[in-house]
């Protein structure tokens, strides 16, 4: 971290005159702001290589290149995002973002979120109540009744209190000031020194647009503040851990739960002679997807290749859930199943979603269905099973395991042991225990 008491490294300015004078209109508040920032940096004597001035668009955004520090000039209203990216990637750097009131409007969410996250950047807002660069249109801070090129009859919108908004979002440090504040550079140095997020909202004159249109002069700024009952000076100073510090701590504290991944080696044989398509149709909450995955993993324990493609609505806890599993001795190309070999329908939701497909099933297909379902006409060979009844005795969450175990027992595609191995390897011990019972119960439905 930087420190105000740093020994003088001999930096007398952090600005270059190579590019000529600053490009602002005479009397523009941005000029004062930039000069104060230079003074603040001189005060801090930071190595310019460790400082990044970040700007976005607007007159204020023309300023980064006049500094001898690193400079990052990005898109309108997004300087906070670059500043945060730099800080997250290199927490040891000093990152100063400059922004206009216009930028605070279009990029308002970034202001809220940097404050909330407490990422240790400094934000300096050159707040001149309008969009200077584009011709004096009104911004989120334009006073009510203020005249701008887009409020020809006076602004009917209310102004946003930038510091107040950031503080409400959790800003650790916030300061409001005007361009006439003699202590501006000291305040900036203090802000830069904060380990967490710190912002300064500097009320300014835009001498090309807002000031002449509204006869706003030095005194007018004070009157404006008074009329809003807004204080200047330090408005918030509530330090808390900076994001990157907190992030590291959270990871260190939580990393012990990381489990190593286990490979799937061939342990069992299979009797699959050609690419085989299995559709499992049920309801959300019936563990259709995860059980299909276990089944596919079981096929891999049996030396097969597998794919799984799911179909479900966006609200995952309601409606249908379908899984399409293909197992094969060879590489699987087309992952959809146009002509299923085995079709399992477990619930009303699944039937509803799959009805049209069931009606078209070929005679080569076996349809395994929960016995309580009212099935449509189909050419498939139909086997009805008391899955729901069986699940009631074990666990409703195991109905998909029961169903697939039944099919596996009936077809002998591969062994029940393979399915059991997948369950034991990939499920938590307690759930695995229940599912191993379900496996047996499912197999029994067809073995006797």
């Amino acid at each position: 971290m930087s420190t105000t008491k740093a020994a003088a490294n001999g930096y007398t300015t952090y600005m270059t005159d190579k590019l000529g004078p600053l490009p602002f209109c005479p009397g523009c508040g941005h000029y004062v702001l930039i000069k104060a920032l230079d003074k603040a940096l001189v005060k801090l004597q930071l190595d310019p290589k460790n400082v990044v001035i970040v700007t976005d668009i607007g007159c204020i955004g023309l300023s980064d290149r006049y500094f001898t520090t690193n400079a990052f000039h990005g898109l309108h209203g997004r300087s906070i995002t670059y500043a945060c990216g730099l800080k997250l990637a290199r927490p040891e750097l000093t990152i100063i973002a400059l922004k206009g009131d216009g930028g605070c409007g279009i990029g308002g969410t970034h202001l809220l979120n940097v404050a909330r996250r407490n990422i240790g950047i400094t934000l300096i807002v050159g707040n001149n109540f309008n969009y200077g660069m584009t011709g004096g249109q009104h911004s989120v801070t334009t006073p009510t009744d203020g005249l701008t090129s887009t409020t020809p009859w006076g602004n009917v919108e209310g102004p946003m209190d930038l510091c107040g908004t950031a503080i409400a979002a959790g800003a650790a440090w916030a300061y409001r000031s005007t361009m006439f504040d003699k202590e501006l550079s000291d305040v900036m140095a203090l802000a830069i020194d904060q380990p967490g997020f710190a912002m300064i909202d500097i009320w300014e004159l835009c001498t090309a647009y807002y000031s002449p249109r509204n006869e706003l002069k030095r005194k007018g700024l004070d009157d404006l503040l008074a009329s809003y009952n807004l204080k200047v000076g330090l408005l918030a100073d509530n330090p808390r851990p900076e994001y990157s510090v907190h992030y590291k701590e959270a990871y260190e504290a939580g990393k012990s739960v990381i489990k190593p991944k286990l490979p799937i080696e061939k342990k069992y044989d299979n009797s699959v002679s050609r690419q085989t398509g299995i559709v499992l149709a049920g309801s959300a909450g019936q563990k259709i997807k995860s059980t299909a995955t276990l089944f596919a993993q079981a096929s891999m324990f049996s030396g097969l290749d597998a794919t799984q493609k799911d179909d479900y609505p966006i609200t995952v806890m309601t409606g249908h859930s379908l899984a399409e599993i293909i197992v094969s001795r060879e590489r699987i190309d087309y992952t959809a199943i146009d002509s299923p070999d085995y079709f399992l329908v477990i619930s009303e939701d699944g039937l509803k979603r799959a009805r049209a497909r069931i009606e078209k099933l070929p005679e080569t297909c076996t349809l395994y269905a929960e016995e309580s379902l009212d099935l449509p006409e189909t050419k498939a060979r139909v086997i009805r099973l008391p899955w729901a009844e069986t699940a009631k005795k074990i666990s409703k969450l195991s109905v998909a395991v029961i169903a697939l175990a039944t099919m596996l027992q009936d077809t002998g595609l591969f062994s029940q042991e393979a399915f059991a191995t997948a369950i034991s390897q990939f499920q938590k011990a307690k759930i695995a225990e229940t599912n191993l019972k379900a496996l047996e119960a499912g197999a029994e439905l067809v073995s006797n």
Partner: protein, 374 residues
């Protein structure tokens, strides 16, 4: 590690980590969200930083800035989020930022069908931002390729100092497949070209237009500058038309002229074939089945599967069309890459697009039917 049963999104995350990615920012969106989940877990394990941003614009802002400090960065989204990436992709091009952008496409436009696949963003990605500069985009067809191409995308990003897109869709991202990632052969990792110590740092230094400028990190040995605005090699603003054109020519040439170098594709040519299927992504797998079935019936047919979509692999496509009378282009959109094939097809060659965007895969049967193979 051996064989696993993985979804494409996990393979992408693993490919990304294999490429030593150490910064990720993203915003949740189906069907790309699980990439965000994997990355939030994996990146800190490798000593890096991963964050869920407040929106896609912030995701891109975080990533671009982090990339310029020397991090290897990735973000991931789907159609609606990609739309919000647009302006920032231009920024990344302007600043010559190496980064990987994953798009797990879903059926659109707008919110579309969140949990359903399509590939409607193919031309959108090519013309993703104002200015129309070229982009690099790869399209995986399998879970293994999702891993491999993500890894390769990092190499391309470094090699060409450019954003690189991975264009998958729901049918890869959340489809699971048996795969052994370790069995996939990968090229060596391309390290970022850094300026030699002691030289002056010019952020966009090039002699020949296709030269890729060496970089210096923000916070590194040199003062670094980055700008969204029209600039010269030193990253200072310029209004000189000759300099501006030279910069634009550079951005364009470094990618377009390398098109054949970065072309990744798979050829399966049959002597005497007069029909060719050109495909990419998940639908190339339907094409493979269509080819197998057609050949089994005695039809002579060739196949070209493209993994690099942008820049267009002109040489590969043109040479595949030699002696061909009909090209079939199946895709999960209304005929987007078909336009590129039409552009390259010699006079007299018929180009038949087989496109739909109804959330289901284009089937081998549809390819053969619309393609006139049945």
């Amino acid at each position: 590690m051996g064989r696993e049963f993985l979804e494409g999104n996990e393979a992408i995350a693993r490919g990304c980590m294999k490429a030593k990615c150490d910064f990720f920012a993203g915003y949740p969106i189906t069907p790309a969200s699980s990439i965000l989940h994997y990355m939030l877990e994996l990146v800190p394990q490798a000593g890096g930083t991963a964050i869920q941003a407040e929106d896609e614009i912030a995701s891109m802002g975080f990533c671009i800035a982090a990339a310029m400090t020397g991090r290897k960065v990735m973000t991931a989204t789907s159609g609606p989020g990609l739309s919000l990436y647009s302006e920032s992709v231009g920024l990344a091009q302007m600043g010559e930022t190496p980064m990987v952008i994953v798009n797990i496409q879903r059926q659109g436009p707008a919110t579309g069908s969140a949990t359903k696949g399509a590939e409607g963003d193919i031309q959108f990605t090519r013309w993703i931002t104002s200015g129309g500069l070229p982009v690099i985009a790869l399209s995986p067809a399998t879970i293994g390729e999702a891993y491999e191409l993500t890894y390769r995308a990092f190499n391309l990003a470094e090699q060409y100092r450019s954003p690189v897109f991975i264009m998958a869709n729901k049918e890869i991202g959340v489809t699971k497949e048996s795969v052994d990632l370790d069995a996939i052969e990968l090229p060596p990792l391309v390290e970022r070209k850094k300026v030699a110590s002691g030289k002056d740092y010019v952020p966009h230094n090039f002699n020949g237009l296709t030269d890729v400028p060496a970089m210096s990190d923000f916070g590194g040995e040199y003062i670094a500058r980055y700008t969204t605005s029209t600039h010269d090699k030193t990253a200072y603003l310029t209004t000189n038309p000759a300099v501006i054109q030279e910069m634009i020519d550079h951005y364009t040439a470094k990618i377009d002229e390398a098109a054949d170098d970065m072309a990744l594709y798979k050829e399966d040519f049959q002597a005497g074939a007069e029909t060719l299927i050109i495909s990419y992504g998940i639908i190339s797998r339907s094409a493979t089945v269509a080819v197998k079935e057609a050949r089994a019936r005695g039809t002579k047919i060739s196949s070209l599967i493209l993994q690099t979509l942008w820049p267009v692999s002109k040489k590969a496509i043109t040479s595949a069309m030699k002696g061909i009378k009909k090209v079939i282009v199946p895709e999960m959109n209304m005929g987007q890459y078909c336009l590129e094939i039409e552009r390259l097809a010699p006079p007299g060659v018929e180009v038949v697009g087989v496109g739909k965007m109804n959330t289901s895969l284009v089937s081998p049967a549809e390819i053969q039917r619309t393609g006139g193979l049945l």
